[in-house]
Symmetry: C2
Subunit: 387 residues, 2 copies
């Protein structure tokens, strides 16, 4: 069986890829610090190497700080933010349970779709894109549907640049004995995310936004109540990879001995990168990180407004790290973004859904959130508008 067979397909000859040097000021991925990139090129080690396990323990501890939680089950899922979303929904929600999802943009809608595919009976509240989740609508939905088991919502909507009041929504849910699933993909390490103060139950994020790490991992954290719920499910989690009761054998180890056992082969080099990115957050301190995002964002808002741009989102619920900028009638979306990319090597993002062609999404995330980058971006936009 192991004889060589003639090769049918000719091998394609291609050059090594050399990525262009971009300044990433879009909706993600964000700019990555060279220390984080460098550590990702260190030698790969085994996913059960004792040195790897030590590194994972430090990583979890730093994630707990970043999420502001004491939750034991806090680790990065081995996939993008959307897989973290599925990890939270699929573990917390059981088929036929009634789930309420508050939608005010692309990612709330995605969570509703993920919950439907998990077999949930999904009801939704809808808010205009560009507005925060209206807690009164959520309250009304809860009052008229006493059998709701779970509330899901997005803390920082990447599609609109809006922040919703995660603390108030989690409190409302807890008062009604409802579990919460919170999307913090674009908020973690950009604005305060206080998992324990909120009392959130299942929270997921991404590495490629304010954590300033390449995309590919999704940090998650689960409350004790959430873990208990998962362990007492009446049906298995539909994804084997995401089943917390199994993956915990690798990330936490045996409940008695702590010995880690094989579940899947974790993305070793990506985890080394996240370890370093979290180190940078810890070294600067969350207060400092949040302030830097806010201050850099203010520079961009002031600059853009002086050029005649208007912000979509009211200042009271505007995300500093993701600015949605309405285009004046004299500014063409595609051509200007192309010029920014091709002439200035700066990436910003297009509007999604109803906002396509109508606004830009400017990311002020992680390493991008530095005044010199704000200045570069403003100068480049100014240049594009002049000619």
């Amino acid at each position: 069986m192991n004889t060589l067979t003639p090769l049918k397909n000719e091998p394609p000859m291609v050059e090594s890829f050399i990525p262009p040097q971009r300044l990433l000021m879009g909706a993600g991925p964000s700019r990555v610090h060279k220390d984080v990139l460098n550590i990702m090129s260190q030698t790969t080690i085994g996913h059960l190497d004792p040195e790897m396990i030590k590194m994972m323990d430090e990583l979890k501890e730093m994630l707990r700080y970043t999420f502001q939680t004491k939750n034991s089950l806090t680790f990065p899922v081995s996939g993008p933010g959307s897989l973290g979303m599925e990890a939270c929904v699929n573990n917390i929600v059981e088929p036929n349970q009634k789930v309420l999802i508050a939608i005010n943009g692309v990612f709330g809608a995605r969570m509703a779709e993920v919950a439907r595919r998990a077999g949930a009976d999904v009801i939704t509240t809808e808010d205009e894109w560009g507005k925060a989740v209206d807690i009164n609508k959520v309250k009304d939905a809860i009052d008229s549907n006493p059998e709701i088991s779970t509330l899901g919502f997005v803390h920082a909507e990447t599609s609109t640049g809006v922040m919703s009041d995660a603390g108030a929504l989690c409190q409302l849910a807890a008062n009604n004995n409802i579990m919460t699933i919170v999307d913090t993909v674009t908020s973690l390490a950009g604005i305060p995310v206080n998992v324990d103060v909120w009392g959130a139950d299942a929270v997921y994020s991404g590495t490629q936004k304010c954590l300033s790490c390449p995309p590919g991992l999704s940090p998650v954290t689960f409350s004790e109540k959430a873990v208990e719920k998962v362990l007492n499910r009446s049906s298995p989690v539909q994804s084997w990879l995401l089943d917390l009761s199994l993956v915990a054998n690798y990330w936490q180890g045996d409940s008695q001995s702590g010995v880690r056992t094989y579940h899947h082969t974790a993305p070793v080099n990506a985890l080394m990168g996240l370890h370093e990115a979290l180190r940078r957050v810890v070294a600067e301190g969350l207060d400092g990180v949040w302030a830097r995002h806010r201050e850099t964002s203010n520079i961009i808002v002031t600059g853009l407004e002086s050029m005649g741009f208007k912000m979509l989102v009211d200042q009271s619920v505007r995300l500093p790290e993701l600015l949605t900028v309405l285009l004046p009638t004299n500014v063409e979306d595609g051509p200007v973004r192309s010029r920014l990319l091709n002439e200035f090597n700066i990436e910003i993002s297009a509007g999604l859904g109803p906002f396509a062609g109508k606004l830009w999404r400017i990311g002020v995330m992680g390493e991008g959130a530095r005044p010199k980058n704000a200045q570069k971006l403003l100068e480049a936009i100014d240049e594009c508008l002049k000619n």
Copy 2:
């Protein structure tokens, strides 16, 4: 809402992680070439950057060569091999369909579990660990269950080091109008994987074995028949992230215009690494890659046999890239593996399940499959046995 809140948790102070320099000769991850590591530390670019799209197109073409297929839908899933397994099973299988899984080790059993969690009515054949899938058992199961829609099996069982006859199994399935799902995690680029010659329908692999790339991506390929089946499902794929009809918008683009649209944020740097790893396979040529694995493996087998070790698997179905080595009674499993790791910086893997403590799994994969590494390993084992 965006006011700074007092930090409850003190930040943990840790050092940058410096991985030990290991020679990886276990069941994976395998040793990674420095060119692959280096490119992963290049600047992160946007997942929809025109340069990224060009790189992705090259990557797909090189994957087609590596899989020996002309399948249009060939790309890496954004997660580990187990997620690729779920991508294949969840797209191909619908709830309540009868699915036959041939089990002869850990990964066949995992595929059966994944299919059960996808709602399938799973029947299995079982072969002794260390033996290939018995095609007669599969034939009998098909003959007595005419409603079987899908056959799943593992080409190269990483838990036992056994190769099964993928071509014959796919042919048998096709003759009975049954779709096939094939696990090539440990075979791709180690021994011949001829997707089109086999006529396989859904095939997944991993990057961290014979492709010699860090773990975290799962190359998959789907036949035209498989794509048609996915597009005509009566129920949605249970995972939003893995739904091929959606993720194709990013990896293939609009069927008319080819324009790529956002689905999820792909792991940019990991993909750059895979691009380079595939370039190395293409440059050497599959014939050369396969021969190198076989020859290096032979050196290790000869050396170990001369020290008194016996191979678990009969030579006719033995994987050159994953050797399962029975331990003589005078060799202690844990202590010797620890010495190899701590004194010689060489990682080999323990036995799984019934083989725990009874055998070693030695990987001869990718960059590990070079005579100098075989020599280092043999010398180190010899040293451990002497003292």
